[in-house]
């Protein structure tokens, strides 16, 4: 151990402000980067999921419409005869 007491450790031989500024800013930047990387991953997964759900819904609507169309087409002659 290079320091006799905790206050000496904080003081860093008079350079405390500069040393702790460097270590503090570095810690803040790195934690920010780690946080954004991890949340970015879940965000990507969520985005893909919502896009997939939207596509599935569109596909279903299109299918339903197509079914409805074919139904009306087959029903049409009957309606005329009635």
């Amino acid at each position: 151990m290079q320091f006799d007491s905790f206050s000496a450790f904080i003081n860093m031989g008079g350079y405390g402000f500069y040393v702790w500024l460097s270590f503090g800013v570095s810690t803040a930047l790195i934690t920010g980067l780690i946080y954004s990387s991890i949340t970015g991953h879940t965000k990507v997964i969520k985005n893909i999921a919502t896009r997939q759900q939207r596509e599935d819904k569109l596909r279903k609507v299109r299918k339903d419409r197509k079914n409805a169309q074919t139904n009306t087409q087959t029903n049409a002659p009957n309606e005329v005869t009635q």
């Binding site: 500069y18 460097s22 270590f23 970015g40």
Partner: protein, 259 residues
């Protein structure tokens, strides 16, 4: 001879491979960084000239050399993607850019905080500092280009050209302290054979350096995986992966609601 490498060119294989790598990398990072930082702050001897302000060195030097190392990695990735049309290389270059930018910023800020007590100024427009600032702008430009295009192949090409042009800056940073008269001191660690440092100062440095390098590797792996998913979102394997993730998420929420 290089055939064992081929499976890793597959996005799915690399996604799962990096996923298995991350826990090991992060555990090693925590180990080396905690030992290195505590050793550097409390146990390493003070410099005979610079006193305890010299402890900034333990972040400043790893951050600065990693900022250049990441750029070199990004340039190699950009080159492979350009020559061999290898799309995963673009994903890795896009993953590296933000990490490199953060480490360049750390090198600049810790350098300023070290310069103030030692040189009497936070900033000076000399060769080393200016070229490192240009490196930060190159990183920011590359990040902006990666995000500027909806089409990721086009974005990768544009960012790749900027990356390769910017490589000229690396030797300028590296040799700036030898080519020009600057306030910045010459290198202490990377002198071949004989580092001009005492052993009890060098050991904590090696721990810090390895710790930061592992940290960079971990973060790049995390970002690389997001890039892979983003670029392969219509592939069936991504679809099944996402729906599995979602069903797990929904089950978890149900569990929480029952509790």
């Amino acid at each position: 001879m290089w055939k064992w490498l081929h499976p890793y060119a597959n996005p799915e294989v690399s996604y799962h491979f990096t996923g298995r790598l991350i826990p090991w990398l992060s555990a090693l990072t925590a180990l080396f960084l905690s030992i290195g930082i505590v050793w550097a702050l409390a146990f390493a001897p003070a410099d005979y000239q610079q006193g305890d302000s010299f402890r900034i060195f333990y972040i400043h030097v790893p951050a600065a050399s990693l900022s250049m190392g990441i750029y070199l990695g990004m340039a190699i990735a950009a080159f492979t993607s350009m020559v061999w049309q290898f799309k995963l290389a673009d994903a890795s270059a896009a993953a590296m850019a933000p990490v490199g930018a953060v480490f360049t910023a750390i090198a600049l800020i810790t350098g300023a905080a070290w310069g103030k007590p030692m040189w009497g100024t936070w900033w000076i427009w000399d060769a080393r500092l200016t070229s490192e600032l240009i490196l930060l702008f190159l990183y920011l430009g590359v990040i902006a280009l990666h995000n500027a295009f909806e089409d990721k192949n086009l974005a990768g090409k544009a960012a790749g050209i900027l990356t390769l042009v910017g490589v000229i800056n690396l030797p300028i940073i590296k040799y700036s302290v030898e080519w020009w008269n600057t306030l910045h001191q010459g290198s202490t660690v990377s002198k071949l054979g004989k580092p001009s440092m005492s052993i009890d100062m060098l050991w904590p440095f090696l721990f810090c350096f390895l710790g930061f390098a592992l940290l960079v590797g971990t973060i790049i792996c995390i970002r690389f995986r997001s890039e892979i998913l983003n670029r392969n979102s219509i592939r069936p394997w991504v679809r099944t992966l996402v729906s599995e993730h979602l069903s797990k998420h929904i089950a978890q929420e149900k569990n929480n609601a029952v509790r």
